[in-house]
Amino acid sequence: MATRLAGYYAQAANEFGVVGRMKLAMLTKIPSERAATEPDSPAHIQAFEQALKQLRAGAR
């Protein structure tokens, strides 16, 4: 169970709403439904961290 990956979606939803979720899915290529089942692998975590950084940078 990918609790950390699901947590990234929660952060994106809190900070940017549905658009944030959509952009996170687009950047990571893993939608929230799949993120819930994917393993919290270092590669996945790095991809989500990077995507969130990108979203935050874009919001500034």
């Binding site: 950390r4 699901a6 979606y9 979720r21 996170l24 687009m26 290529k29 939608p31 929230s32 993120a35």
Partner: protein, 266 residues
């Protein structure tokens, strides 16, 4: 590898095959031309000229005997005889220095020696002719049949050189055929390899483009249910497939957002 790089490499390969083929062709023509130059530069033609001079020398001797009773004719024909005699000897000596074939050179040296002996006999016969008041019978008796051995030697030299020329020409033709086969085989093999590579590259591109087209058609219809985008690779199509995967994930996320709340963070 990028598609552009693959196509550039393919193009460069075709150009390389073409350049290589031209280089091989030029080298082959050069070798062939060199071989025929050697044939043309061979002393066979000079030998023919020397043989003609030798025959004329004998003819001038006969004219000397036939018409030498007239002092004016004697001076004319004996002068021409001596000129031809000198030309034959000089020609034979020059040829013996330029001929590369050992056997031919040996035969030429034998001819020069025989010619020296014959010249001495001609001189003695000429002296007898002049002293005997144009006694051509006495003079002819001294040299009769003396020109046959040198003539035979000359014929042997020419025959030997002609055999060498024919062998050189045959070797040239064989070499040209062999080189042509090698060049054709090499170029053909390279073209087949390049053609196969080109065919495989184009087939791969077309197949992946077809998969990309199918994915984009389903995305255009918002038919994302069970859609799987498996278009990988480090080329332009792979990058496009990655972008499509992002779009697919975004659409799925939007659909999911419309249906269910965000999963709670741990």
């Amino acid at each position: 590898m990028k598609i552009a790089t693959k196509l550039q490499l393919l193009f460069a390969g075709i150009v390389a095959v073409f350049v290589l083929s031209v280089a091989v062709l030029i080298a082959q023509m050069s070798a062939l031309s060199g071989g025929y130059d050697a044939v043309l530069a061979s002393p066979v033609r000079d030998m023919d000229q020397a043989r003609v001079n030798f025959k004329k020398e004998v003819q001038e001797w006969k004219d000397t005997l036939l018409r030498g009773y007239n002092p004016k004719d004697l001076a004319t024909y004996s002068g021409q005889f001596r000129a031809k005699e000198a030309a034959v000897r000089d020609g034979a000596v020059a040829l013996s220095k330029t001929v590369h074939d050992d056997q031919a050179r040996q035969l030429l040296n034998q001819f020069i020696a025989a010619d020296d002996v014959m010249s001495a006999k001609y001189q003695r016969a000429f002296d007898v002719f002049v002293a005997g008041d144009a006694d051509f019978k006495a003079a002819d008796k001294l040299v009769r049949g003396q020109d046959r051995p040198p003539t035979d030697l000359f014929d042997k030299v020419v025959s030997r050189l002609e055999t060498k020329v024919q062998a050189t020409v045959a070797a040239q033709q064989q070499s040209a055929r062999r080189n042509l086969l090698v060049a054709l085989g090499f170029s053909g093999a390279l073209l087949i390899v390049l053609g196969l590579m080109g065919f495989l590259t184009v087939r791969s591109i077309v197949k992946r483009l077809a998969r990309l087209h199918a994915v984009s058609a389903r995305l255009a219809q918002a038919d994302v249910e069970g859609l799987s985008i498996d278009i990988s690779g480090k080329d332009e199509i792979g990058e496009f497939g990655e972008s499509m995967a992002g779009v697919h994930a975004a659409i799925e996320e939007l659909l999911h957002a419309a249906q269910a709340p965000v999963p709670a963070a741990a």
